[in-house]
Amino acid sequence: MFNEFFSEQYGRRNPNARLFHELLEATSRVVNLVEQKDAQHSDRVALNCLRLARRVGISDQITLAQVYFAGLLHDIGEIGVPDSLLYKKGKLSEEEFQVLTTHTAVGQQIASQIPVLATAARLILWHHERWDGTGYPEGLTMDETPMLAQIVSLCDAFDNIRRGGLFSKPEDWDSELMRFAGIQFNPSLVRPLIELTEEGLADDTECSPEDEEVLNAMELQEDVIAQLREDYVSIIVNFLLALLEAKHKESALHSKRVARLCQRVGEQMKLSEQELQTLVIAGNLHDIGKVGIPNSILDKPGMLNDMEYKVIQKHPQYAATILEPLSGFSEVVAAVLHHHERWNGCGYPGGLKGDDIPLLARVLHLCDLADALTHLRSVPKHFAAEQVRYVIEDGFGSYFDPDISRFFEEDALEVEKLEDDA
């Protein structure tokens, strides 16, 4: 779908890009943004999964890499759970618990957007199964749950025991694990994990050369790279959109509409094919930084207070942080980072003015606002499509580059509305 973009950015300009490592780094940054409670939890679980799997005799590098990714992304589905529930103190009600249990399936759906991580996605689905069959989502008993998923489950629980707060004493960790062997965990995995902790390996959050080798193995795997090269940009866009959809569906739908609007405006401007594709990608991903913004702010009815406004203003920077590791996405990053800059210089985050704002960011800003005026719930007053041109030219004229706003056609908004209704 984004062939021109890929061949320009990764074929001609950057032929030696390490696609898998880029993806890994971007994914890692997403996880850190999503996990506000403890940013290092997933990193620790991922490394412990890798080490435990190796300790119990799994030597295939690709399998080990899948376990690592399952550990890294195991809680990614929590993005779909309301913050009020995730941070709730005290016991969850039955209904709240039911909502929480959906995070495994949501996580699986998000991770499965990256085809090379299909195995990891399945492991994410089962990482809350218990040895005695009382886990979720499927209630699998003992070794009905695949061994790799048992490893993720154990390492996740172990990390939760270790970060148990002031009252979690290191000398109790082993006995706590042993206590739940045969109940929550496969007893044959507990002993090797305790050995790892005794050797100090379970505390080490730095990748050893041996661990690096596993991740490098994925980069050397021809079929993995071939699969990535085939549809790399679409994979990234779909993965990030799935993530945004789980977090805040309205924002994901808005992003898709903005991408289509961008395409229409870009075509009117006679942009090159490569620029057009860059613009569409930026349109799809311009709000991806909202994965780091609490739902309580995103869904707040009415006006935001100053504090909340400052938090939501961080989303372009968050988006840029996620996309920066992708070496071919530098122009997308620039457009996304500056998509709230205004022509008169009163925008954010940089307060850029006039031609200092990248061209694609100016187009993106126009389409973003046009769609927000007609669709978004958070905008106090909705406008009909035919009124938007008037609003853009007269009401917010100083916000936009006049050379670009003349390319804007309200027909495009009508089409978007019809597509939405359909």
Binding site: E138, D143, I183
Partner: protein
């Protein structure tokens, strides 16, 4: 030793299909496992009607599908705990007893006998089923696969833990659910349901059950043996001499369910898919299959069918 994964069912993979069928009746025919019916009851707004072959699986369904509430009173729970305190043992010190294919600590077997003597055990069939469910969890914990049992919890601790734990899966879906054991064809014909889910057993029948399922059956029937429990002639889970015989039997059996709109067949044996597809075509139903890999070596297949 058989591979447990071959007995497992992964209901999550067909849940998207079921989401279209809210507020309806779902018939689930299975032979051995128990997690799928619970998954359906918990996640979908449907009335669940289950049928099993094994007595232990039936007890499970009685406790968790037909019954909605945790029936044991605080007095019952105290009595069960008291008994465990009196009969407390350390698994590593207790002698192992072999019972019909499974090994358990002798201390557990004595405790089980005493539990079954309590008046609450015979109060209603749902009380009995609930206690069987509780004993099954304990038995799984103390199940000895090889070598000495090194389980960390003493009996009194394990009982205290599971008396708290087992309350969780008891819940109502605000429907009147039913459980049957070896449902007859006439009853099947008279059930007004829109969805039929069949956990298709292999044509060779089930040779041996995984230990954690075997122990559930042994707790319900000390003399349990899989071939012995199946009725004479061909039946769900029994051995068929040829694939054609199996398909013919299935076809005859399913002809009593033609009034049910959607059929979802859970097919473990990939080689059977073609034959089952043809069978469905002959029954004037269109079908499609979909597959999900579970591990590198194992994948799971489903056939969805509707009237043509």
């Amino acid at each position: 030793m058989c591979n447990s994964i071959e007995f497992a069912t992964f209901p999550h993979f067909f849940s998207d299909t079921l989401r279209f069928y809210r507020h309806t009746n779902v018939v689930y025919l299975n032979t051995v496992v128990g997690n799928t019916e619970q998954f359906i009851k918990r996640n979908f707004r449907v009335r669940v009607i289950t049928n099993t072959v094994l007595p232990g699986a039936y007890e499970y369904d009685l406790a968790l599908i037909e019954n909605d509430r945790f029936l044991l009173s605080n007095v019952d729970l105290r009595r069960i705990q008291q008994l465990a305190d009196v009969m407390d043992f350390d698994a590593s010190q207790s002698e192992a007893v072999k019972r019909n294919g499974v090994m358990l600590p002798s201390g557990f077997c004595e405790y089980e006998r005493e539990i079954k003597k309590l008046p609450v055990f015979d109060r209603t069939r749902y009380h009995r089923a609930t206690l069987h469910y509780f004993l099954w969890h304990l038995a799984k914990y103390y199940l000895i696969n090889s070598g000495p049992n090194d389980r960390g919890l003493r009996l009194s601790e394990a009982v205290r833990f599971y008396l708290r734990e087992i309350k969780r899966p008891f819940r109502s879906n605000r429907e009147v659910n039913e459980s049957y054991q070896r449902i007859d064809r006439e009853t099947l014909e008279n059930i007004a349901a829109r969805v039929l889910i069949v956990d298709v057993p292999p044509a060779q029948g089930y040779g041996a059950l995984p230990p954690f399922i075997q122990v559930r059956e042994v707790l319900v029937n000390e003399q349990f043996s899989l071939p012995g429990i199946l009725p004479s002639g061909y039946f769900f889970g029994s051995h068929f001499d040829s694939e054609d015989d199996y398909i013919d039997w299935m076809s005859e059996f399913l002809s009593h369910c033609q009034h049910m709109h959607l059929w979802l067949l859970i097919v473990r044996d990939v080689a059977m898919l073609k034959g089952l597809g043809k069978m469905l075509e002959a029954m004037n139903r269109r079908s499609r299959s979909f597959s999900h890999p579970i591990t590198e070596a194992h994948s799971f297949n489903y056939l969805v069918s509707q009237p043509a």
